[in-house]
């Protein structure tokens, strides 16, 4: 698994062009898994269908792209290509694209949005009114019918709302038929309007459909006064100074035919929509598989890009319990340092059966915690199939990663009490196997130094003799180094502080062999701005307690 993923990443790294183009194509796909899931629940609309169709087309393009490149490589890419499924999904895409009219869909969306905006506006009015009204009757009175009717009328006669079709005319033979009939009915309507205009000599005549009155003929302006006696069937509905409406049976009949036909068209569109949806559901399994292949490709391109950006190298993984990392780095910390113009000091970490447990001492902020973390992170990254921030890394597979890096210094809420430490440590000791990897930072804090050292020793003993796993154990208790001198497989390393004369000093972030018996706490205190007298008193106390100078064994 892992090696195959690493192979894939390697192939992609070598090929800048492929990487960029692949990224482009992937970016243009839609979230198939979620789309497909929507359909399986019976949700999903025409837009989703289109998105699915486009994605299927993109997948085809991706496959062609990969096929073009992988002929030159043995290739994970080729194998990936083979896993794509074609027939079913392609069929789905084709049918969808043939049936759905994208322009119509966009128009419909626009009109929907306009309606929503209107509805929002009107609703806001209602709510505002409601704010001052609690009685139902008052509310009724505040909304007058005439205003509503006019607004609705305006919408009905707006050609876009009524006549937007989302399917193409020829999506199915039935639909084509219906559309042809509709076209001819519209012609008839036009003909009727023209005839009437000629007959009555009224140029402002329009044939309308209103929700309140139904199909009416509407005249306005100067033609209002014309004589309707030439039309014996006409029945006047309303007349005012500027407008006049009347019913005409021919128009009524034609109008209702048109409306019926429109309904049937809509019904047919729904039918087609449902059959498309069913087709998608039939191909669910294949579509999902294709989607997961695309996902793997995406993650691989992500790893490839990352490797280029951070100069990562391919790790070598094996079944041993050794760890060999040369010049390992912590990616996020390094990025942070670089942005402020500083350098990250890489470190080696080599764990073998003779040096399986590293006891690391040294002053705070000299990089102990970072070192611990970067080693764990490198293992995690390697096993996800990504390249790692190291010049060289050969890692034994890890079955579990444990850490006791309480980081009370970072947690504002969860002050790491001794109890919590013990809980975490207990968990580790009970579950670690010889294939595990453990990092521990400052076990034994939060209690007296004697108890801390005792617990620390006991834990080291257990890890060494019983768990037998790879461990990085950082501590301030340098006494532990002496107490564990005779442990087999334990090695002491440390970080240090470098004096530069004239009271100036800096941290040496390199982890070297040895024991650092000075924590240089006073230096940190001074740096933190503790008052002079306090620091002076502390150093005197330290001398009286028998301070030993730095003892670094080479």
């Amino acid at each position: 698994m892992i090696n195959q993923r690493l192979d894939l990443v390697e192939e992609l790294i070598g090929n800048e062009v492929l990487l960029t183009e692949l990224g482009e194509l992937l970016r243009r796909t839609y979230d198939t898994l979620r789309l497909v899931q929507k359909f399986s629940f019976g949700r999903g609309d025409a837009d989703d269908l289109l998105a699915l169709a486009r994605t299927i087309q993109m997948t085809q393009q991706i496959k062609d792209l990969l096929a073009g490149f992988s002929s030159s490589m043995s290739s994970q890419l080729a194998r990936l290509c083979e896993r794509f499924h074609w027939e079913g999904p392609n069929q789905v895409a084709e049918r969808i694209l043939r049936a759905i009219d994208e322009e119509g869909l966009t128009l419909q969306q626009q009109s929907l949005e306009m309606n929503e905006v209107e509805a929002a506006g009107l609703a806001r009015n209602v709510l505002e009114e409601q704010a001052s009204i609690t009685e139902m009757s008052d509310l009724k009175k505040s909304l007058s019918t005439k205003r509503f009717n006019k607004q609705v009328e305006a919408e009905v006669n707006r050609p876009t709302t009524a006549d937007i079709w989302i399917m193409r005319r020829d999506a199915s033979p039935v639909l084509k038929n219906l559309h042809d009939k509709l076209t001819s009915l519209y012609k008839d309507k036009q003909q009727l309007a023209d005839d009437l205009k000629a007959q009555l000599n009224a140029t402002t005549l329009t044939l309308k459909l209103t929700p309140g009155l139904g199909h009416i003929c509407h005249i306005k302006g100067r033609d209002t006064k014309i004589d309707l006696t030439s039309l014996p069937d006409a029945r006047t509905v309303s007349s005012s100074k500027s407008t006049r409406s009347f019913y005409l049976p021919t128009w009524t009949r034609l109008g209702s035919q048109i409306e019926d036909l429109k309904l049937r068209i809509r019904a047919e569109e729904q039918f087609i929509f449902h059959s498309l949806r069913d087709l998608v559901i039939q191909n669910l399994v294949l579509l999902r598989r294709n989607a997961s292949i695309l996902d793997s490709l995406d993650v691989a391109t992500s790893s490839a890009r990352l490797a280029q950006e951070f100069n990562l190298k391919r790790p070598i993984l094996n079944h041993s319990t050794n760890h060999a990392i040369y010049s390992g780095r912590h990616m996020t910390v390094e990025a942070g340092l670089l942005s402020s113009g500083r350098q990250f000091i890489p470190n080696d970490c080599i764990l073998t059966p003779t040096e399986r447990l590293w006891l690391i001492t040294g002053p705070n902020m000299a990089g102990k915690s970072t070192f611990l973390r970067q080693t764990a992170l490198i293992s995690i990254l390697a096993q996800t199939g990504s390249f790692v921030p190291a010049a060289f890394a050969e890692l034994g597979l890890v079955d579990q990663i444990f850490s006791r890096i309480g980081s009370a210094d970072n947690l504002s809420q969860d002050q790491s009490t001794f109890m919590v430490e013990m809980l975490e440590t207990a968990h580790i000791l009970r579950h670690a196997t010889s294939r595990s990897f453990v990092i521990m930072d400052e076990v034994g804090r939060g209690t007296t130094p004697e108890d801390g050292i005792a617990v620390g020793y006991a834990v080291l003993n257990h890890l060494q003799k019983v768990s037998k796993c790879r461990t990085l154990f950082a501590t301030h208790f340098h006494a532990l180094a002496d107490m564990t001198k005779r442990f087999v497989g334990l090695a002491c390393y440390c970080t240090n502080v470098v004096e530069e004369g004239q009271g100036r000093w800096r941290y040496d972030h390199r982890v070297r062999r040895g024991v650092n018996r000075q924590s240089h706490a006073l230096k940190v205190a001074k740096l933190a701005g503790m008052p002079e007298e306090v620091v002076k008193t502390a150093s005197e106390v330290l001398k009286s307690l028998g301070d030993e100078s730095v003892d670094v064994e080479v």
């Binding site: 629940f41 419909q108 209602v126 009724k140 209103t210 999902r288």
Partner: protein, 458 residues
């Protein structure tokens, strides 16, 4: 009650067209094919129509039947219908659509003011809401009324202010009823507040158009209402506020009860626990066994939005430990009643998109199948009437993956920083260079849940 505006109705209808299909077309058709007999009526006429109808012999519509003051105890609606049919032949519901919806909301109230006695204390909509609130008592109930969603009774009082809604009061003959609502197109916004921010379960009672016989039976109401969906943090499907870059897992936990008598003796920490989790929005479905001891790490790795536990668990000591572990992870479980029966292979075959995968499921451990049962039972209960077509569950076992324990996930800042618990600054952010959203999800999974421990394809 808030009266929907005409334009809102029209907008509603168009929305319905896209998402609800034929049923709404029928409704739309009725509106569109207004017959010539229709006469415009003012809204203010509505209450008076009833009164005039009593005096006039000619009756135009069936909907106001409930206004009959006499013979109320018999079915007044039926009587009126028959009389109506003799006089006119129009079933002009459609003509009343613009006003019809208005008047529906009006008539029950008006009726109450007119009627001498009435079998219901509250108007139908409110009464249904009350019944639903009793039926789904751990949920917040939203009732669709026209183009608004309404909260009633205690829900309005409790959640109205929480959502920033004005709590009004509706007069009914049985007393005032607290009420708060918002327009339908703001549903997503309020759902997000309730479900994601306040971790509530929301039951949505949608309108279902009544066919003519139902209309008559219900006293002229155009719509009935049903709870079609209960929305919980773990059962989100395609809501707008669902983050596409993360999984939204629903986790079910069952504990094997090997020894019922020894409830309080030691090694219940080794009791086997079945885990089963699913992301309804993407279809990922996994199962795993673990033990109580490793449970908190497993839960941390999965990162569920909602956890389900059987109601009966709470009584046993193992169950209590389970609950305290969840509490320690900051998760409050939803309790579910036990599923009625174990799913047979036919049941599985009908649920999965690939029926051939049923065989692999037979190989699962009993704890895994139990938790899968619990999970599916819960899901079905919250999406009633929806036919599920899921991916077959993928079995995860400890041997296949590197397990990163809970403290390591946190301490190493794999998906979130320690200090702020945010994505920026975590390993995932540093590493993610994906081009698609589902690729991003896979990467997140690979980093936390699925770190491989196999070198080659097995």
């Amino acid at each position: 009650m808030l009266v929907p505006t005409k334009a809102a109705i029209r907008a509603l209808r168009n929305v319905c067209y896209v998402s609800h299909g034929p049923s709404c077309i029928v409704w739309a058709s009725r509106a569109a094919s207004s017959t010539t007999e229709a006469k415009a009526k003012d809204v203010t006429d509505v209450p008076t129509i009833k009164r005039t109808r009593r005096s006039k012999a000619k009756i135009e519509n069936v909907t106001f039947d409930t206004s009959l003051p006499d013979d109320v105890n018999e079915a007044p609606t039926v009587k009126r219908t028959r009389k109506t049919k003799a006089k006119t032949e129009t079933i002009s519901f459609g003509t009343l659509l613009p006003q019809g919806l208005l008047s529906i909301e009006v008539s029950p109230l008006e009726d109450l003011e007119d009627a001498v006695t009435f079998s219901q204390a509250y108007p139908t909509v409110v009464q249904q809401a009350r019944n639903n609130m009793r039926k789904f008592e751990h949920c917040v109930l939203l009732t669709r009324v026209g183009s608004f969603y309404e909260l009633y009774f205690e829900h309005a009082e409790q959640y109205g202010p929480l959502l920033g809604l004005r709590v009004g009061s509706k007069k009914t003959s049985a007393g005032p009823v607290a009420m708060a609502g918002f327009p339908f197109f703001q549903l997503d916004r309020f759902l997000k507040m309730l479900v994601q921010d306040h971790n509530k379960h929301v039951a949505i009672s949608e309108e279902v158009a009544n066919d003519p016989s139902q209309k008559v039976r219900s006293g002229g109401l155009m719509f009935d209402r049903e709870v079609k969906r209960i929305i919980t943090p773990g059962t989100l499907i395609d809501e707008n506020f669902l983050s596409p870059l993360e999984h939204n897992y629903l986790l079910a936990i069952t504990v094997a009860r090997s020894n019922d008598s020894t409830d309080d003796t030691g090694d219940f920490m080794l009791s086997r626990v079945g885990l089963s989790w699913i992301d309804l929005s993407s279809g990922d479905f996994f199962t795993q066994i673990t033990d109580i001891d490793s449970l908190s790490s497993a839960v941390a790795r999965i990162g569920p939005r909602e956890v389900i536990v059987q109601q009966a668990e709470a009584k046993h000591i193992v169950g209590k430990t389970l609950l305290s572990i969840l509490d320690g992870s900051g998760l409050r479980p939803s309790f579910s009643e036990s599923p009625p029966a174990v799913l047979s292979s036919e049941d599985w075959a009908s649920l999965l998109d690939d029926p051939s995968a049923t065989d692999s499921i037979q190989a699962f451990n009993s704890e895994e199948t139990q938790s899968a049962n619990l999970l599916l039972h819960y899901v079905k209960g919250h999406l009633p009437g929806i036919k599920l077509k899921l991916q077959a569950p993928v079995r995860q076992s400890a041997e296949d993956y590197m397990i990163i324990d809970k403290n390591s996930l946190r301490g190493l800042e794999v998906t979130q920083t320690l200090r702020d618990g945010v994505f920026k600054g975590s390993l995932l952010q540093a590493v993610r260079r994906t081009s698609t959203e589902s690729g991003a999800r896979l990467l997140a999974q690979r980093l936390s849940m699925w770190v491989d421990s196999h070198l080659e394809l097995v």
